[in-house]
């Protein structure tokens, strides 16, 4: 179809966009990986060593941080999906008032993450409106600790509030592409609301559901800002620990190990997604 020299021009045209990304992301990943094994070290001399890996894996604090971040990633992705999916399903068909509803829901998408964190902090703080209301209704006797709580519910609440519209947009595009004929045919054959949900909507929207969960997990797992203002005092998220190790304690090599762990987890999760997506769509 195309001549060969034309194809070379095409690759050249890719350079500005793809090349820019490869240059910057590639160089930072390269530095992370090499520094984690002691090469190109900034502090100390450069030589191959696995000592920092050894230290990180024998440190209870590092392992706590990794587990905490994984927990946050998992809970945030599940929580956001549980809120967003029913709304996306409801918004699939047009109707009076739904346009207004759809733009209302989109607002948090345009609220920066840190601002969202602050907005929710106001609500869940010790004398925030939620605690005050619950106390006024005599549901609880003393205020609950929801901000900087040990488990991290505050962080999950912020992630869910901020990211519902993001997930909703991905899901509703996919739900909109399901043809009404399919749903009508199922209904004609006697399918109830439940079997339509579980045998048509959910399977057909599965790739989008998986993508939104993966992107949410990655976001919440590598989060720095939200955990540092609303998370527990201990353990810090892995990104927070990495940054402190690097800039406060100047242990860049050790920080690089944590960085590699974050990158590997991210890649692993993405890989699992692509396998699952293949499984769901039958390898297309």
């Amino acid at each position: 179809m195309e001549r060969k020299n034309v194809s070379a021009v095409h690759y050249l045209l890719l350079v500005p966009g793809v090349g820019f990304i490869l240059l910057f992301i590639g160089s930072s990943i390269f530095l992370t990986v090499t520094q984690s094994v002691g090469l190109f070290s900034i502090t100390g001399k450069s030589q191959f060593t696995l000592e920092n890996w050894n230290i990180v894996f024998h440190e209870k604090e590092s392992l706590d941080s990794i587990l905490f971040s994984m927990k946050m990633g998992l809970l945030s992705s599940i929580g956001t999906l549980l809120f967003a999916f029913p709304v996306a399903l409801f918004l699939r068909k047009g109707g009076s008032g739904k346009r207004f509803l759809a733009s209302l829901i989109k607002i948090p998408l345009f609220i920066p993450a840190l601002v969202a964190a602050f907005l929710i902090i106001n609500l869940i703080s010790f004398h925030g409106i939620i605690n005050e209301t619950l106390m006024a209704l005599h549901i609880i006797k003393s205020p609950l600790r929801m901000l900087n709580d040990k488990f991290g519910w505050g962080v999950v609440a912020i992630q869910v509030w901020k990211n519902i519209p993001f997930v909703l947009l991905i899901l509703s595009g996919s739900l909109a592409s399901i043809r009404d004929d399919t749903v009508d045919a199922a209904r004609n054959l006697g399918a109830g609301a439940f079997s339509i949900l579980f045998r048509i909507y959910i399977p057909l929207a599965m790739p989008a559901i998986l993508v939104s969960m993966i992107l949410m997990f990655i976001k919440a797992f590598g989060d720095f800002a939200i955990t540092s203002v609303a998370g527990p005092t201990y353990p810090p998220s892995i990104a927070l620990r990495m940054r402190n190790t690097a800039t406060m304690f100047q242990q860049w090599d050790k920080a690089a190990v944590l960085g590699v762990i974050i990158i590997l987890t991210t890649l692993f999760v993405t890989w699992i997604y692509s396998r699952l997506a293949e499984f769901v769509t039958g390898g297309e």
Partner: protein
Amino acid sequence: MAGLSQAKPRSLLDIMNRRRLYGLLTTFFIVVQLIWIGTPIVMTVLWSLVNPDYPWSFPSMFPEKLSWAQWVYVFKYTNIIRALETSYAIAPCAVLLSFLLSLPTAYVLGRKKIPGKKFFMMIVLLPIIMPGMVVALFLSRVFQAFGLAQSFLGLVLAHTLMGLPYMIRVLTTSFEAIPQDIIDAAENLGANTFVKIRDIFLPMVRPGLLAGMVFAFTTSIEEFNLTFIIGTPTFETIPTILYSFLGYNFIRTNASVVALIMMIPNIVMLFAVERFLKSDYLSASLGKL
């Protein structure tokens, strides 16, 4: 008989009931959303208007007196104006640069069949997929080596990096959607490359371009990780200033003012460009990895 009664068409009453149920559900969802999104925002507005002489504390549900004192204080005694200038100077530069960089790339990815297209589409998503703090920390080392750390140019490049995935992906989808017939017809009538770009490609990708620009702009305005590591303390943007108010010196009233300053332009923009932000753009461009 059971089969027959199932096949019976729905009665008018049924349909009317159903419609009423949907109306009720819509109202319910709207009320829930108004509380869900409205309460946090109203609380922040109230906090930003607290009069410092009449502190708002437990157990009063509303501040006794309102005043603009907090706003005046923040504009007078903090670096907010410089931060606003920096933020709104970086964003247009980053949007423009990412547009120029992504145009040729998106054209090839959207219109040409090249081997490895899937791979390149994946590479494009890397800035979103890669954890921000890792990239920020070690990119700052790279930037330091090239003298880009703590510089305006460095920040523009970093923000461009974060905006590129949205820009390339959305533009690629728009390029894909142009019918080949139109291009063939134009070529038939003797259109050269320049005419094709001016009269076909640019007008037809304009909605996607606007969506991509909005995404790149908001990404730049709220970008925190890279700015925090590469820019502070020389450059402060609104997110980094808000972070300092939320961190070691937590001052709720000041933080409220800064939060509103960050939020209001974004929400105004949301309603201004609402019609360009049909869900299909984000879904089509990010729906698959």
